[in-house]
Structures are given as structure tokens and as C-alpha cells.
Symmetry: C2
Subunit: 381 residues, 2 copies
């Protein structure tokens, strides 16, 4: 049996599935090459006699893994020298609290955080931030990114938070105009904070526009349990007294993510993904592929009104594609037929219903084509 | 090449090492059987066509892994039904903040937490708790657990914190008298909180004595990045407003550790370790082995004063054995000789110096015997 070229027991009973394509929103598909290497190295990393899981995080073996991962991520995203990259725990969700806990220490009580509300994840961020500061929703839409001219920004806000790709709602910022320029006078002294969990490494970004970028790993980076924080140096050292030391960005930065024992195995897998990305051609190549995959899928959804995606065209996500059947009574039949063809985890998030196909970096275009073929077949085209 | 039966490249140049024994304090040695199974299942878990890393945490495949891990840990530690087991992120260190953030919400401002200070880890807990409450050091010693009669307890304390095995200092509580009885009148209404990171699952415990038990995984449980919290139901729901939602014990408990995406792969490995422990005979068998291994090692240290362990006899840890050479100018020679024999990571923690051998559940007695042989050889016996 070749790896990943077979269905599970249940599927094999139903029909002859030869390929599995996993459209999970996260944890999600990983490059086959990464998993193959991880399996081969599991009991003995590079002749050390140890699994990566067994290594002291302060020993030379793991430190070499850590430093390579940090260096490769810095190269892939062109992170400037005045930014630190932190490998943390807690997931993107925890950052909804950890960002205000780390950025408000030097602000007066009653400081305001501005938010652009474009879906479920920015919604969660808004709710959590309200525990630590005043919150202003500067603009709101669940199906588009409101134009910057409509944003009701707070002068002197502590920061401006945006979720640049909404995993549940499928709304993605258009970087060629959707994100404010660093020189925008309305944002003088107001750092941009971006939750890029579900599209980091899928497109080129100008890190210098942002004060903080964060991302849970379990979409385009690696296994759940690692969280990446990229932060400009001048924003470090402003933690509120209530911030747990293990999550104090400055302590984490000063200790090269080893103030606490880091999630070593997850960092190792992330490092393998970074190497894979470089070998594939880096972020520019991922962006090219993401465009091609997304265009293929949206074109099939747009043929007629059998399927519907409700997001404004310029903000349709290249990573998370929610769609609805016009006749929702066919939902279960659609999902059952998909599963029988090895197209897994297409059910939409419970909060919005319908379907969702997440097509991250590790999803090959063949998987998207297989989904498109099924979309057409199910629609009777 | 058989797995783990060889040295690394450097070692092989120096001499013919055939076995590696890894005495790291954590992340630490894992059972070979667990790593072998993880490698075999890496690309396709149980015919699902997916790696465990690629599974949605809410899907039936991962939920079966999660539930088995929870059930097995509950069985291994005989956790009563009125306790929840949480699989969290952040490590033991983060719990130094998360425990007060979760237990003080219904206490008046100025509440006091009592601590027994027996080493570096309880010391860190004391320092961190001081950010959230008054702290009283009820008793202190770095080389023993002070007798309960000497503890200066605070009536009505929010809780009493103890680190029942000090990983750095090698001080372990004697459970047959070292931990207060649940009926101790001085502790009426005062929950016991125990940091068991470095000896959980190595000895039988009476969970009902404790309000909260916590443990970072990377010693006896699995890979770094998973933290276990075992908490009595009546202590849930008392989080301070500043507690991040992702780390609110009640939210974590109410969502079966899936309020946030959990560290799925780490939980899977922990589950394999739990299965291994059950197959070996459970915690009672681990305790028998731990006693045998510790007796073997301490006997070699106690032959004469060439080596020294400074911990009071009843509190010598069975898991972490720090020791010093009487002539510390030989430290480097000792470590170099150990490495040449495949005895790795024996250097003591930088804060205390000397040597340390961590002999967790997954360390076979053959590894301890190899260390004892080397101790005798180096001492010229």
C-alpha cells in the first residue's frame, strides 16, 4: 500500500476509492513528503539515537532544528530584522487575550482597541478583547471587507485588529488595497494586528505594514499546538501585570521561545513544512497555486445558481471556500456522495451551515479538480 | 540498523557505542514501542488515509483517540468521577499563573495562597502567584520536605500549593505521610494544588486528597506541548476576569478540551503512552520499577563520598537524581566519559550545577545499570 493512496476501511467497503482528499479547515492536510520524512526520522533523528520528541529543548540537536525553522520562516515571509518570531502555545484563540495582555501595559486604563469585524474569528477577538479594554468596531460585514474609507477609526487607538482571512466565513483581505498603508495618517502610531491563521504562507505579505502578525499552525504551518507570533521590537515589553509570564511576548522573545519548554515536536514538523515550501518555490509559488486552485473551484460554483458562495468577489478567500446548495435538503446526499469519492470533511462550520472546502498549501490541484468534477456531477451538468 | 541501538555520528567516531540512554530531565525518553507505532501510523492512522496531525479535532477519528486517552489516564490514576481531566497547552510553567487565574475569582481581593517551598519549581510558582494574590511561604527547604507540623498555614487560604517532585532539586514528597490527609482540620476548605509534572504516573496517588493536580507532559506522559490538569468539579467556574478564555478551566472542561483546537498529535502520543503503561502493568508496576531503579542508583552514589546527593533520605526523588562529584574539577571529564559510553544529558541544571540523572518510566533498568557501572568505573572502584 502506498501512503495516502487509499480510502479507509469504511470507504473501501462502499466503493473503490483510490485517493483521499482532506478538505478539513484545520487541523488540515500536510505535505506527504513532510509526513514521510517525519516517519523515517521518528526513532532516530539524524543519527542522534533520539526521537525529536525525546530531545532536551536546550540541547544542540533541538536548537539546530529550532534555529533552522526560525530562519526558514523569516526567509519565506521576508521578515525584517526588527521583528521577532515567537513559537508559542495556545492557538490563535488564545492570542485574542494574549495580544491585549501584551500590548496594553503602557496604555491608560480605558484605552480603545479598533476592530474590523468581517466574520466569526474577528468576532471572537472582539468579544475577548472586551475583557481588557474598550472595543470599537470600526467597520463590519460578514461577506466583504468594508472599504477603508468607511472605517470609523479611533484616534490614538491602542491598536487596530483585523482577521485577514476568515476561516469560517471565507472572507479574505485584498492585500493590494484592503490593508492600510503603513503611512496612512489615520493610523499614525496605531499598530496593525493581523490574525493570519488560515492564510499565512499562501501569499506574499509586507510584514512591515504590521505591528503583530499571529497564526495558529494547524492550517498552513504544521500540527495544532504551535502558534506563531511575529512582532515588531518596539511593541515588546508592554505586558499588563495580569499577563502570565509564560505568555509574555518579551520574556518569550528574550529567551528565543524557550522561557517555557516549547512544543518541540510541533516546531520540528513546522520546520519540515518550511523546508518543503522553500523546495516548492516559496510563498510566491504558493500564491500562484492558490490562485489557480481557487479560480478553478469558484468557477465551478459560479456556473449557475445550483451552488452559492455569498462573499463579495474581491474578498473571496483562496483558502476557505464556503458554499451552499440552493436546495439545502440535498446537503446530506451531497456529503455522502463526496465521502464515497474520498472527498472528506466538506461539511460547513456548524455556526454557518452549508459546505466548506479548505484548500491550503498542501492540497494539490488534483484534489480541487476531483472536487470540481464531483460538483458538476452532483449538479447534473 | 535497529532503532535506538546505536550512537550518533560523533559518538560512533569516538567509540563503539551500541546503546544510547537518554537521562534528559524533559523532554525525555519515550517508550520505544510508542515511537515505533507512531512511525508506522504516521501517514495513515487505522486506514483513515490521514495522519493524526491532519485530522479535524472534532471528527470521529480524533474524538476516538481523545476519549481513549482520557479514559486510560482516568483508569491509570483512579481519578474519581467528580474530577475532570483537561488536556491543555502552555506547560507546567503556565499553570503557575493559570491556577491563580482560575481559582481566585470568588475570593476577596487580598486572598492568600500558601506554598510549601522545596525547590526551584515551587519557587517559580511562588513568584508567579505573587502577581495575583498574597503569598505565604508556609515552609521552606531545598533539601527536604519540611514536616507538616512545622507548616505555618494561613486559615482560610485560597489554596495550598506544593510541587510534589522538584525536577531540578530532586526532592520528592513521601506520600505515606508527606501530603496532608484530606481530613486535616487545618486544611478545612483549603484545596491542595499539586504540581506533579515530573513524577505523575510513576507512583500511586490518592487523587481525592487534591483539588487540582497538574503536569506538563514532557516527562512521563508524552511530548512537550500538552499539559494535564485534573480538577475537582466544585473548583471550576471561579476564573478571574483577566483569565484568557482559552485557559479558563470551566470552558475547557465544558468543551472536553476542545474550546480551543487542542494539541492533537501530542494527545495521540500521550494516549499511546497510556496504553503502554497499562500493558506494562499500570502505575503500581511503574512504582515498583521506579523504586528498584532509584535504589540501584542511590546505592552507587552512597558507596563513599566520591559522589554526593544532598537530599534528605526520605525525600530523595525516584525520578530526578541530582548528584555532585566531590572534586568538581572532574565534572567535564565525567560528562565526556559518560557521553562516550552513550549515557546522554547528565549535566545538572544550570541553576544548581553538578549532575542529574532523570530516570522516568521509559528509562529501562538496564540504562540505570549502565550508569551505575560507569559511576563505579569513574570512581576507580
Amino acid at each position: 500500500m502506498g501512503p495516502r493512496l487509499r480510502g479507509n476501511d469504511g470507504l473501501q467497503k462502499e466503493c473503490n476509492v483510490t485517493h483521499i482528499y482532506n478538505f478539513s479547515a484545520g487541523p488540515a492536510v500536510l505535505p506527504k513528503e513532510v509526513l514521510t520524512q517525519a516517519a523515517a526520522e521518528m526513532l532516530d533523528w539524524h543519527g542522534s539515537g533520539m526521537s525529536v520528541m525525546e530531545m532536551s529543548h536546550r540541547g544542540p540537536e533541538f536548537m539546530s532544528i529550532y534555529k533552522a525553522a526560525e530562519r526558514d520562516l523569516r526567509e519565506l515571509l521576508a521578515v525584517p530584522d526588527n521583528y521577532k518570531i515567537l513559537f508559542m502555545q495556545g492557538g490563535g484563540l488564545s492570542q485574542n487575550a494574549l495580544i491585549p495582555l501584551n500590548l496594553l501595559g503602557h496604555k491608560p486604563a480605558g484605552a480603545t482597541i479598533d476592530f474590523i469585524h468581517t466574520g466569526s474569528w474577528s468576532g471572537k477577538s472582539i468579544k475577548e478583547a472586551g475583557k481588557y479594554a474598550n472595543v470599537n468596531i470600526a467597520a463590519s460585514s460578514m461577506t466583504s471587507v468594508p472599504p477603508q474609507s468607511k472605517w470609523q477609526l479611533t484616534p490614538g487607538a491602542a491598536y487596530l485588529h483585523m482577521c485577514t482571512n476568515e476561516t469560517i466565513d471565507g472572507v479574505e483581505y485584498d492585500f493590494d488595497g484592503g490593508v492600510p498603508d503603513a503611512a496612512d495618517p489615520r493610523l499614525a502610531g496605531v499598530p496593525l494586528v493581523a490574525d493570519m491563521s488560515s492564510h499565512i504562507l499562501s501569499r506574499e505579505i509586507d510584514v512591515a505594514k504590521y505591528g503583530v502578525i499571529f497564526a495558529g499552525a494547524q492550517k498552513n504551518i504544521g500540527p495544532a499546538g504551535v502558534t506563531i507570533v511575529i512582532i515588531r521590537d518596539d511593541l515588546l515589553g508592554h505586558a499588563l501585570p495580569a499577563c502570565p509570564s509564560a505568555f509574555d511576548f518579551k520574556l518569550v522573545a528574550d529567551n528565543e521561545s524557550m522561557y517555557n519548554t516549547p512544543p518541540t515536536y510541533g516546531i520540528y514538523i513546522a520546520g519540515l513544512v518550511f523546508q518543503w515550501l522553500k523546495a516548492q518555490g516559496g510563498v510566491a509559488e504558493m500564491e500562484r497555486r492558490a490562485k489557480a486552485k481557487a479560480e478553478l473551484l469558484y468557477a465551478a460554483l459560479d456556473v449557475d445558481d445550483f451552488y452559492q458562495n455569498r462573499v463579495a468577489l474581491p474578498n473571496r478567500s483562496r483558502m476557505n471556500v464556503p458554499f451552499y446548495l440552493k436546495d439545502e435538503s440535498q446537503n446530506e446526499a451531497f456529503l455522502a456522495g463526496a465521502k464515497a469519492r474520498g472527498l472528506l470533511q466538506l461539511k460547513g462550520h456548524k455556526s454557518v451551515g452549508g459546505m466548506r472546502a479548505s484548500i491550503y498549501n498542501a492540497m494539490p490541484i488534483e484534489g480541487v479538480q476531483a472536487l470540481v468534477d464531483y460538483l458538476n456531477e452532483f449538479a447534473g451538468r
